[in-house]
């Protein structure tokens, strides 16, 4: 018997898998850092890279301190953090529900957050952190409602998605109603909650977002190890000792929380959650959920889109969410057509 040779082959495949995972994550991290650096350098006034670095080290002039630390760094950081949050959230939900359409922006979670925020701003006249809190609440409430409506002795992924898409439309009409009844200035404020933008994001939004992610990201990654097992189907996973119901609930709560805090910080930046997962899973191809690459891809898309949006000729102050919407919509259509032709519905 060639047990030794077999072991060797196995060890090689596994090592190769690990090397691949680490190098993919490494390359993506480098790419994110490069775009962050780029976004700190370019803008209305170019600050040279050495100046940016010395400013970050605390030795900048008053001018660069303002431009880099107050304007550009919070913006870039917000981009990285919401990108990670949306990317993770989408990758978790897509894997959990076995459907590439199951991302929080398609099944109404982000829209729930937006609707709650718009209700707060226009309906109640709130502003500041209260709106963000309300947005998070809106996301959780939407998820709960979706679960309750889809529940039939357990929840099937397919039903959950259909209910989510329905709720999404309902919530969009709620938003439209409030927008039509709002004064122009308030409507301007509320607009953020519809398109999503990094413009004017400052430490007030970043600190709560960072704190939430410090809790949610590790929880998601730890539960994510079991997420790969759920890909085998409920029966097989349970047979292998996974407490399917509890793990799934934990993951849904984490994913909804991630989408909620991200939307609360920057508004619903369209389709990041939808796109990050499939791109992140691309290079790994090991049947796993590829959470880390998906999170990094999310960050990368947001950053690149924001840099591009800021420097699009003829369209000053283009919100990043509008740009990602324009990229994501064709993908969504393609995915809809593809899953339908595959007979999975969608």
């Amino acid at each position: 018997m060639t047990a030794a040779a077999l072991d060797l082959a196995r060890t090689r495949t596994r090592t190769r898998g690990r090397v691949r995972r680490v190098s993919v994550a490494g390359a993506l991290t480098v790419a994110v850092l490069v775009v962050v650096a780029l976004s700190l350098v370019v803008g209305a006034a170019v600050v040279s890279l050495p100046d940016v670095l010395s400013t970050l080290a605390g030795q900048g002039s008053r001018n660069t301190n303002y431009v880099v630390l107050e304007l550009r760094l919070p913006r870039a950081l917000a981009g990285v953090l919401v990108g990670i949050a949306f990317g993770l959230s989408g990758a978790v939900l897509q894997t959990l529900l076995h459907n590439p359409l199951a991302s929080p922006d398609v099944i109404g979670i982000s829209t729930g957050a937006s609707a709650a925020a718009v209700l707060g701003i226009i309906g109640i006249g709130l502003s500041g952190p209260a709106v963000s809190g309300l947005a998070l609440g809106g996301a959780l409430l939407t998820a709960l409602l979706m679960y309750a409506i889809a529940w039939r002795n357990g929840v099937s992924g397919y039903r959950l998605i259909l209910v989510g898409i329905g709720l999404n439309s309902l919530l969009l009409s709620v938003i439209s109603y409030f927008m039509t009844s709002a004064r122009v200035t308030t409507a301007q404020d509320a607009l953020l909650w519809i398109s999503g933008s990094l413009s004017g994001r400052n430490w007030d939004q970043i600190v709560p977002l960072l704190v939430s992610l410090v809790v949610l990201v590790p929880v998601t990654l730890v539960l994510g190890r079991v997420l790969g097992m759920l890909g085998l189907g409920d029966d097989t996973a349970r047979g292998l000792g996974v407490t399917v119901g509890r793990v799934r609930l934990g993951l849904v709560v984490a994913a909804v929380g991630l989408a909620g805090v991200a939307t609360a910080a920057t508004g619903p930046i369209a389709f990041i959650a939808l796109l990050a997962g499939p791109i992140g899973r691309g290079p790994a191809k090991d049947g796993g959920p590829a959470l880390v690459p998906s999170a990094l891809v999310g960050a990368l898309i947001v950053l690149v889109a924001d840099v591009v949006a800021q420097h699009t000729p003829f369209l000053p102050n283009l919100p990043v969410g509008v740009l990602t919407g324009a990229i994501g919509a064709p993908y969504l259509l393609w995915q809809l057509a593809r899953t339908n032709s595959g007979g999975q519905g969608g």
């Binding site: 018997m1 077999l6 196995r10 495949t13 596994r14 189907g233 349970r238 090991d286």
Partner: protein, 294 residues
């Protein structure tokens, strides 16, 4: 290394695997007044069933008789609506899921392979119950996976994506995953569906090997009556959610039992190869003399 030498190490390892560290004590699985329902519709009506330890049990019966449901109930994939399932005398519903998974393996009827997963990765998933939240993959996991691949003759497929395999290969890979789990009890729901006859026989041989070498208690839901008669030590016949007959195939399988259970006339001959019962169905057509059959 001789094959026999190999087996002793497997056995020794299996013995040390048992939770108490004592020489292998056989685990037992039995159902007491087990009732199972889907959506409040009762499918299994209070059956008592014990899997004979160290033996191969086959559950047969017509479509919709509740045999797959029974297997799911035994494997705690479906909570009983009445009665209970006892693993080593303890209610299986009260035991930690992962603890159960170290003793009891289940291969469902239609397992799903995630997109793009390779054979090695899939078989490796069988090691999940032996790993803690933070316990890393170790040499024992490697060894279990390598042996599962070898025994099921899938080692040469190790690097291939599961999606690219033929039906027979795929089924062997799933069995390999169940074997990598190294459980003392193994339940399989129609493992030979969609396989050609040669692959069906090969799979049954493989499971018999496993049973004889490691003493694994096996329960299989099977459609093919003649294969069930040949390969079962213990046969359980179900009809409409109840157990109608059970025992060794030679005692249980008579023309009467088969016609009661399946509602089909037949002759029962002696299988010239194995000496086990061989069921020859009698339909309305293609009988040599439709008047004289009995």
């Amino acid at each position: 290394m001789t094959p026999e030498g190999d087996m002793t190490t497997v056995h020794a390892r299996a013995a040390t695997d048992s939770s108490d560290g004592h020489p292998r004590t056989r685990h037992t699985l039995l159902a007491e007044g087990l009732r199972l329902s889907y959506d409040r519709k009762e499918v299994v009506h209070g059956i008592d069933l014990q899997l004979p330890p160290g033996k191969v049990t086959m559950i047969i019966g017509p479509n919709g008789c509740g045999k797959s449901t029974t297997l799911r109930g035994l494997a705690r994939l479906l909570d009983p609506s009445g009665g209970r399932v006892l693993l080593d005398g303890r209610d299986i519903g009260t035991l930690p899921n992962r603890e159960v998974a170290r003793v009891l393996g289940i291969l469902p009827q239609h397992p799903v392979a995630p997109d793009g997963i390779t054979v090695t990765d899939l078989v490796g998933r069988g090691r999940y119950p032996h790993q803690g939240w933070f316990r890393k993959w170790n040499a024992e996991d490697d060894e279990a996976v390598a042996r599962a691949l070898t025994v099921t003759n899938t080692a040469e497929l190790a690097g291939r994506p599961v999606g690219s395999l033929s039906g027979g290969q795929r089924q062997r890979v799933w069995i390999a995953m169940a074997l990598a789990q190294r459980t003392d009890l193994l339940l399989l729901d129609e493992p030979t569906t969609f396989l050609d006859l040669a692959n069906q026989v090969e799979l049954q041989d493989l499971l018999t090997d496993l049973n004889r070498r490691s003493g694994t208690t096996i329960a299989i839901v099977l459609h093919d009556l003649n294969l069930a008669c040949r390969y079962a030590d213990h046969l359980v016949c179900m009809k409409a959610g109840d157990i109608v007959a059970e025992g060794p195939p030679r005692e249980v399988v008579t023309a009467e039992t088969v016609s009661t259970v399946f509602g089909m006339r037949c002759d029962v001959l002696v299988d010239p190869v194995s000496g086990t019962p061989l069921i020859v169905p009698i339909g309305r057509h293609h009988t040599r003399d439709s008047e004289s059959t009995s």
